[in-house]
Symmetry: C7
Subunit: 221 residues, 7 copies
């Protein structure tokens, strides 16, 4: 009967592995965990996105990792570049749709929820779940907000995130030195330090910033 | 011929395992059983939803686990967050549709039945059955109601539910101390106690409440 | 060549097992045979549906097992609750369609035939055959009628049915004591006795009744 | 290379088995061969359909096995009841369509050809070929006709058919005693005798009859 | 690496076998080679189709094997009867379409080409290639023509064809005795002789004939 | 982990084999390499297509291998006849479309490019890549052109091509004796010689010719 | 349990391999790495595309490897020719669409992004990811730009690229001798030298050039 059981379990397009794990989403997360170390730091005044830029070969420009989505919101991601680019496109499209329908900027929470549902959809059918985690940062009528969205479509809000390679080390560093009243300059330093700690060496970092004061998201440097 | 039999049984997208079990739904339930311990307690005067909030890392807000669906009804769930979020969306959409069509709030039983059919559909085709159990609580013209809906689309009504990790321990605790004339405060205490018992330690709990008196569902704290 | 044969037989989505058996329908029937013991008893004057209510945990209401379909007809089922609920929905929808089209109640035979075709369809394509047997009882212009419909879409008419766990024992009990001129009270007693015999203990039973005199189906108690 | 060959042959949804056999149709035929013994006897004056009625359990009516299709034609079948019922439905629908389009009864050959094409279609795609052989008998402008249609969609005309369990024995009996000028009564006796011979015991038999004189098909008894 | 190769070759719905053979078409041809021995003989004056009629059981009429397609053209086939019947239907439909569109009989080459494309289509997608070879014979404005079409959709023109069981022996016999100025009677004799030689015994043969003189196709006897 | 790797690689409809090879296209090419030896020779004045005609059995006409496509262009192919015939149809259709849209003959390069895209499409989805290489020859406003198109959709232009069985030998022979100012007669001789060399014996060859002078493609003999 | 795990992981169309790698995209890249060595060199004044032309057999023209896309932009690729040709078509179509919609030439970045999304789409569904890397070079209002796009849909900008066989050696050579103020002649020499170094021998190279001065892309020689 054990064998019959094994026979049975072989026959179905299976989305679940042992203990009910989502096996393809787990694979997507493995890919995310090999991606560029990427960080988000948020206070009441600003949200900062920082992503490690893997040193490109000479004569090649490194791929952009921090993306403006709309005037008031930006995003970054870790995982497969192709997947990240598609998700950024989806975010931009949704933000534009909202502007056209409501003649106002989309609030950061709705934008995040949209991406979560979009990613979740890929976990239900026989297609490939996207291998990218995304951090969204922006400012809307209720203030500065930052969210992380994972390949399963799960999202959560926070003041400090780290995704990609050695994300745990980076997150430790952020948590140790984070202060709710830190300045942008201090946050930039902290982001660099956290990524350096995660990778074990000084690294090039791309940075984007949303401030409550300006109500805008822009890339630094 | 035994071998021929084995050969035969290998060839078909199989929804059933030994003894006619629904193998993917069983996997979904395994995932639910690893989810946050979540509780519902109902009397004639109120229905209370309580879900364990897994301690998030510092600087991250824990994911919301208790959701308003419409003014008079809310829901909570245990399982994969992405799946729960989609089911909450479906509940909200159905409640809005009802308001638009009939200009009245949807009754809790119809809302539950809709979610049951929605989940059941995922068990018939070659897609992924959703890995989430949901507890719905609300108040309509016939009083206070509370339902549990499982990944198979099965639903049932009750005065005390527990889903997620160590749900059995939590349910034992509720059954032992439940009283039909308990106050909201007593119910909150009981919910905390039951979750504490299930997890073996004091935990953060998110709570939602529907009361007959107000005819509304709202989150506490 | 024997090996070539084995090779060949491995490649096709197979609906048939050895001896031409419908393997998924057999699995569905296995699930039905683990369902609640459910009974139908019919005379010229009435038809009675009775389903064992598995004792729910304290504070949970047991799932409804006997369902009104239209004013003159009801149904019960055994198997997966989610599947039963969908089939009841389909029956109600068909009964309503008939009322709208013909301004008269649907006759019990047509309603049954519709469910048979609906279930049969699930046995042809690569979807999951429904794991539920249903007993339909009602009264129309030609009198009182009772039918059983199985997962394969097969249906038959009769005066005594039993489905679900230990259905054979229950059916034996019914056949031994059935009388064509028994009263409703005697039929209720017989239903309880048959279910008790099947399960080996006194059990809670939900009952529905269609009578020629009233021309209606209603649930008892 | 032999192994490479085996590897190759494993990869394709295969409709064919060794020697070009249709493996699913063969499975369907196995199911037909386990069905009720069913017989057709035709002379210039009448065509008679007779199907063994498996003794139902007490209180259950046996399933109908001989079906009027239109006023001038009827059918019977052997195999899975659910499949037979669907095929009878298809025959009735086709006969009604013809009446509506041409305001005349469909001729028996066209009706048969339609069913053959309908069954054949199930052998081409990745669906389940129907497990039922059908005998069609009727009377049209060119006289009395009787056809047998098999799961592969093959049909042939004749004066004596037997399908289902021990069909060969039944057919032997018919061939031995058939006479082109036999009366209906003699044919009924022969049908009963043939089924008795096939099953080794006296059996209940359902009978339908089409006569040239009346130009009608009706069930006997 | 050999193993990696084997692993790779297991994963794809494969239409090709070793040496690029079309594996399902080969299976279809195996079925054709077990079909009734069927022959075509053509001169400038006529084309004759002859198909062995397998002796049916007493009281059953043998299945028709030679089919008029339109007034000026007919066809026969070998393989699965259900498949042959569908192909004949397709031929008749195409011939009727041509008459409706162009108000003239279809030329034999175009009709053949249509069937070739129709059969070829079944070899591209994941459906079942038809298991039938067909011989088409007819007369059009350019004279008498005869074609053979195989399951792969390949067709060729000729004066002598044989398909089905022991087709090679039958073809040898035809080639030995064929004469370009033979009469219809001689051709009938040759057809009978060739089938007899193939099967090793005198057999019943169904014959169809298209003549240049009449410009018609008709069945003999 | 090696085993896990093997496990992983088993699960996906795989279009690629080791080293990124297109496994089904490779199979299609194997079939092409077993096809009739087929040759193209082009100078500034003419393009000549020549295909070996496998000796048909007596009384059968060999299949046409060189096809006019439009007045100014023709094609030949090697591989499965059914596939070649479909590709020729596609070429003719495209040429006709061009005439209808632009009222001018299609240029040879565009026609070739269309066939390349058509064939390429079969390599992307789960259908059967066509097993035929095609040589297209014609004359348009820019002169005489000749192209070869392979099952992968790759095409290239040239003055000497050989496809099918022993194509390499045939191509060697052409390359050795080709001269840019050879006459049609010399090219015919060379084609025959090359095919003879490839097959090791004198063979029947079908020939088509496009000349700059006439601006037409026609078959010889 | 390890085995159960293996059993589970066998059942799903898997897009991911160990460590979350995209297995089919990896296969596509393997094919790209066997393609023609292809190079891009860009300065502020020009962008040069150079692709090794594999020596064709005598009498065959080598396949074009550098393609004009629109007046101001061109592209080259390495991998399967059929795939490259389709991607070039897609680029041309997108450039034409932009001209029609906006009456201006498409900017090089948008064109690249379109191709990236197009390629990415093939990595999500059960189709074949395209086996081609493409280098796009052109000049628009913001200057001269050059991009590389890979089968995963990832793209990046740069001044020196190499793809195909021994791309690493070629890229080394470019990086060593690249100068931001080199002339076109120097870049052509460098391209030839890099390809020679990669292949170990002097090779034929096809070259395309976009210059800021002319604002055009054209092929050299």
């Amino acid at each position: 009967m054990a064998e019959a059981g094994a026979g049975f379990s072989n026959r179905y397009p299976s989305f679940y592995g042992p203990e009910g794990r989502l096996i393809l989403v787990d694979s997507a997360l493995e890919a995310v965990n090999r991606g560029s170390t990427t960080i988000g730091i948020k206070t009441a005044s600003f949200a900062l996105l920082a992503s490690h830029i893997k040193p490109a070969r000479p004569l090649m420009e490194p791929t952009e990792k921090v993306f403006p989505v709309d005037g008031h919101v930006g995003a970054t991601g870790s995982g497969y570049i192709g997947d990240i680019l598609q998700l950024i496109d989806e975010l931009r499209l949704e933000a534009q749709k909202h502007r056209l329908s409501f003649e106002s900027p989309i609030d950061i929470g709705s934008l995040t929820k949209h991406l979560g549902g979009y990613l979740h959809n890929y976990t239900i059918y026989a297609v490939r779940p996207q291998a990218a985690s995304v951090i969204i940062a922006g400012v809307d009528q209720t203030g500065v907000h930052m969210y992380q969205v994972d390949p399963s479509g799960t999202y959560f809000r926070g003041a400090g995130f780290a995704i990609g390679q050695s994300a745990d080390s980076a997150l430790d560093a952020i948590q140790r030195d984070y202060s709710a009243d830190m300045t942008v300059e201090q946050a930039v330093q902290l982001a660099n330090k956290a990524i350096e700690k995660a990778l074990g060496e000084r690294s090039i970092v791309e940075i984007g910033l949303a401030t409550a004061k300006e109500g805008k998201f822009k890339k630094l440097q």
